[in-house]
Symmetry: C2
Subunit: 334 residues, 2 copies
């Protein structure tokens, strides 16, 4: 089959050890011997057997990239950006193994031998157990997108509180005073953070949110739709609505049109996430963009650093979000 270092050794008239050293550019080997061996290796189209290497070096050359789920729930754009980001960092140094956490029936097979490091793109609190498992096994780990405080686990995520603050501030700066909120799904950290940021903005500008201007939501189209219907039925309608994600924003916009009103003329809408479709809906959605690709890049970089330098700092990195202004917010005269 394929050539091994022993084949090369025979042809070069040296021991296989010498070949191993030569190909790993060891300073022990004479330069001309190295060169001779390299040429023979080239001729034989030699490729090292990584399984053998892994076995003795105790490294797998594998990096795991785990998502909460692959089968449903993860948005395509999110998924794509995450893989892109990580891939751009590791290139040919590691193999990238993509998995859905919910595909595991047992974490048993996740060992130090099979993964040099793992990146978890976490989208749910249910990911706790696997994070624990990996941390216990002592596998270098970075968790993206969701705050985590397990010891020794790196953590990179976007500052959603700050993003929501900006979105709120933006509405105020455009002249809005009657601003309503459609909240995210209960129990999701992101829902809490976004709500907090928005509220902080309102507080900062001295704007009160009456109870009637708050509606719970489930992060889906339908709940956004219902919430907006509720707002529209009020005596005194809000002039702007901050939705904790784009999908609810879409539902909300739909409700506005159904009521014979216009976005943004009659009511302004802001979303969160900058989903793929946000730029394509009518009106194009003003929203908060999370720097997914940057997050995954930073995460991958930190993971590699951790693997190679064996640093084990628990460190949380918050990256700034960006407000993407499109067409769904109206400038109000004061």
């Amino acid at each position: 089959m394929s050539a091994t270092i022993k084949d090369i050794a025979k042809l070069a008239g040296v021991s296989h050890t010498t070949v191993s050293r030569a190909l790993n550019n060891s300073p022990l080997i004479q330069e001309e011997t190295k060169e001779r061996i390299r040429i023979i290796a080239e001729q034989l189209d030699y490729t090292p057997n990584y399984n053998a290497k892994s076995l003795v070096l105790d490294r797998s050359y594998n990096l795991g990239l785990f998502f909460t789920t692959l089968s449903n729930g993860t948005s395509a754009g999110f998924f794509y950006e995450a893989i892109r980001g990580v891939n751009s960092v590791i290139r040919d140094r590691y193999q990238l193994i993509v998995k859905g956490i919910d595909d595991y029936t047992s974490f048993h097979s996740i060992t130090k031998k099979s993964f040099d490091g793992i990146i978890i793109v976490s989208q749910s609190d249910d990911d706790g157990p696997i994070i624990e498992h990996i941390a216990n096994k002592g596998i270098p780990l970075v968790v993206l997108n969701r705050p985590v405080d397990t010891a020794g686990v790196l953590n990179v995520l976007s500052d959603e509180e700050q993003g929501a603050f900006h979105a709120g501030a933006f509405l105020v700066n455009q002249g809005h005073k009657k601003i309503a909120l459609i909240e995210g799904r209960k129990g999701f950290k992101s829902a809490q953070n976004r709500k907090d940021g928005f509220e902080r903005a309102m507080e900062h500008y001295g704007i009160l949110i009456p109870a009637s201007y708050r509606m719970p939501g489930l992060y889906d189209l339908e709940s956004g739709h219902q919430a907006m219907q509720q707002f529209l039925s009020l005596e005194e309608r809000p002039t702007a609505v901050f939705c904790c994600n784009d999908e609810m924003a879409l539902g909300a916009i739909k409700a506005v049109f159904e009521a014979g009103l216009q976005v943004p003329k009659d009511i302004s809408v802001v979303g969160f996430d900058d989903t793929v479709f946000a730029a394509y809906v009518t009106p194009a959605l003003t929203t908060v963009r999370r720097p997914i690709e940057q997050i995954s890049k930073e995460g991958a970089l930190r993971l590699l650093g951790n693997i190679e330098n064996k640093l084990h700092a628990t460190e949380q990195l918050l990256l700034r979000t960006e407000l993407i202004v499109r067409e769904s917010v109206q400038v109000l005269q004061a």
Copy 2:
């Protein structure tokens, strides 16, 4: 560190050979011995070292999923569906290694030892060399999404010719007779197939396409925009336009609005691909959906069959596309 079969052997008072056989459920071992060994293995939290296994069994337990590019060009939805499809088939039998072909500086490291099989989601003719390389190395291979005729290579793709035929037929059936075409990018197989299918439909219904009703395109927004402007400037405007992909359709719709006209009232538009945003634009785009997830599932299934049964049939499987009727086509009175 972690337990090995030798550790288990010591505790069980047997040789490591017996442990190996027991854990692989060999019929050579007594049932009670097996059970005893299994229990000890469980207690030690034993996980086989896959590197060692791979070395002796000459199998990697790795499946490669290669895209033409990860860094740009691949659409997020496409990417997501492909990974989902493959993942749903392999589950825990293999590790899924995701790569961009353009990340390889040399294919040298792609060997039979490191991949039990490879799935290429091909989006460009430039993928020829890597397909050749893999086929030469004798690695089981399936190419998705693009026709390929290398010997021994499985091939699964959607029947785009048929999809375009249906789209054309649909327009005719809605009463359209003046139908224009914006072509795909020259040199892309898909561009040819879609054009062929559309033309066959027109021919089938005895409809002529005047030269002025044909415009070249580049599969991007801008070229769709320009082409539509051209059509709108004609003395006798078409009532419907078939665009060889959604992005051009989007550009075309934009041009219609800019001219103060309406889609679909004044002019109908059909796209191809059912991109993520197709459902969200206004009007929602009628388009042809390629069964990406099904393609990748079928591809993965065939690959596994190939790996395990060592069948080596060159077989092409064409899967039917689906016409997604939304709001961008007007019904005309005859």
